[in-house]
Each structure stands twice: as C-alpha cells, then as structure tokens.
C-alpha cells in the first residue's frame, strides 16, 4: 500500500528542538559508567583526563541520547515532531531495527545539548517476519551550546501490525 498524501508531505520535515533537561554533568556520567562497568579514565578520572588531549573529563560518546531523554516529572510538552504526525493507518506497534551513531566532537561537563529530528524516509507497506508495516528512518542531529554539531543518530524503526 502506498502512503497517503499527508504522510508523504511529512518526509524531509524537521522537528522543533528537543532540549536536554540538564547540562552534561559528572554525576550522570558516573552513574552511567557504573552500570556499564566502564573504567575508561577519560570519563571519571580528573587527573588523567586533565593530562589527556581533551584537557578534562569527557562524557562517553555513546551517552549522546541520554542527555536529551525527557524528564519523568513534571512531564514535558514535546516539541512538534514530524514522526508523531504520521497516520500510517492499520499499524500501531513499534520496534527499533537499526541504530547508527556518529560522534564528531567531544561532549563535556557543562555542555547544554539539544537535538533536531528529521524524518528522512517512510517505506511503503512491507511484509516482514513479524507482521506488515512501514520502515521509518529518522536522523537526530545533536548540537552543543555553541551551535556545533557534536553527533548524529540515524535510526530505523518498523511501525507494524503484528501477525495474528
């Protein structure tokens, strides 16, 4: 099945910015490293990091998404998002199928991040192993307070109707 005109018109559109609720901070970095059991001294050892080429602590690059996760309370109003406007009739279950992260610049304690999500592609209805659905590809571009692009996340999800 082909996409509706309304859904087609959303492809290529960008969201409003999603702002991280907090500045990048050492304490969230430590909580993250504890759960990964990640002893990379650039993330938690002040002296080591100060003497490195970064001149101080950096956040694990793969924490990019974490900084912009919404707070649980008070629940935020979400910025306008093209993905949320898709009708895609008949499909209502999501699964992430592929996630790519690219890291361009170090993220440091004190940085204020935000991202903008672009709707890149929506496939026609496809039959898959788990049901019929549409593959949706988006790019989240992450910026710091200086307007520099620090990284990108390119994600493909399947929005589908599970097999009976």
């Amino acid at each position: 099945m082909a996409l509706t005109e309304k859904d087609l018109a959303l492809i290529g559109k960008e969201s409003e910015p999603f702002h991280a609720p907090d500045d990048v901070c050492k304490c969230m970095i430590r909580h993250y490293c504890e759960m990964m059991e990640d002893a990379n001294p650039l993330y938690t050892d002040e002296e080591f990091a100060r003497n490195s080429k970064y001149g101080g602590i950096i956040a694990p690059p793969q924490m990019l998404m974490v900084w912009c996760m919404p707070r649980m309370w008070p629940f935020p109003e979400f910025p306008w998002l093209p993905m949320a406007e898709l009708d895609l009739p008949g499909v209502d279950t999501w699964i992430a199928t592929d996630m790519i992260h690219e890291f361009y610049k170090p993220v440091r304690p004190g940085d204020k991040l935000h991202y903008i999500m672009k709707l890149d592609k929506v496939s026609d209805l496809k039959r898959t192993r788990i049901g019929e659905g549409h593959f949706i590809t988006t790019t989240q571009t992450y910026y710091n307070q200086n307007g520099e692009v620090v990284g990108r996340e390119i994600r493909t999800v399947l929005k589908y109707k599970p097999n009976e």
Binding site: Y32, M36, E37, L42, F48, P60, M63, D98, I100, H101
Partner: protein, 153 residues
Amino acid sequence: MPQNTVYWEDVVEGQDIGSYSMEMTAVKISGGAWATRDTNPIHHDKDFAQKAQQKNVIVNIMHSEGILSRLATDWSGPAGELKRTRFNIEGNCCAGDTMTVSGSVIRKWAGGEDEGYLAGLHLVELQVNSVTQDGPFCNAQIIMALLTKADKR
C-alpha cells in the same frame, strides 16, 4: 583503570579484541535503564514485563549500546576514539541472564578524502557481539580511530 594503548600499525584484521561477561540482575537492568533515563516499565517492573511476554525485566537499548561500546575502548585504551556505531537487536536479555560480550577486528584502513569526518584518521572497524546463555542478544559494528606510532608523544 585500562591505560593500555593499541597502535593502529599493530592491529591485524581478524584479531580477537577480548571479551567479558556480566551477570544481569534485576538491579543492574533497572539501574542501567535509570542511568540512561529510560522509564519504560518493561525495564523496571517484572509484572509488566511478563504481561509483555518476557520472562522478567529486559535490558534497555542504551544500556546495551554502552556495554558493547565499552569492549572497544577497553581493548584500545583511552586513546582510541569511538567514531561510529551501528547497533542491532537480535534477541533479549532478561534479569537472571549472563551476558557475554566479545569481538574482533573486521577492517583496518586509513580514512579517505571522501569519508567526511573520518578523512585522514587511522581506523578500524570492530564486530562486537553480545549473547546470553540462550543465544544472540545484540551486536554492533564499531568504527574507531586509533593512535599511530607517529602520534606517540
């Protein structure tokens, strides 16, 4: 603290980059979800997870990505820089499972002019796999920039 350094010249395609195992307790899984600010109850609430056809709470995506990326930097030492990760989920990892992460070098090359932000860097691509005792959980292809001996100060 891992302060070893792997130099690009010494890397061979196909070489093993080591492995580790983690006992994924319910506390670890919920803690990993909080540390990545993932509030979905499937990572915190056993009853909810069981209604969603899982044995128990399941490890969230950002926690899994962190555990896989860690193998890359544990191997390279802190001088290795994560540049690109591609991550796929193949199965599940629940409370009570043992997760084992292992990997190898699948490609070694110098970033070409047409490779954008990777141009001029000394690169390796790693295949990192995570399994539980019941089978595959997730995997990643990770591109890292390594130091060369000429960079050594």
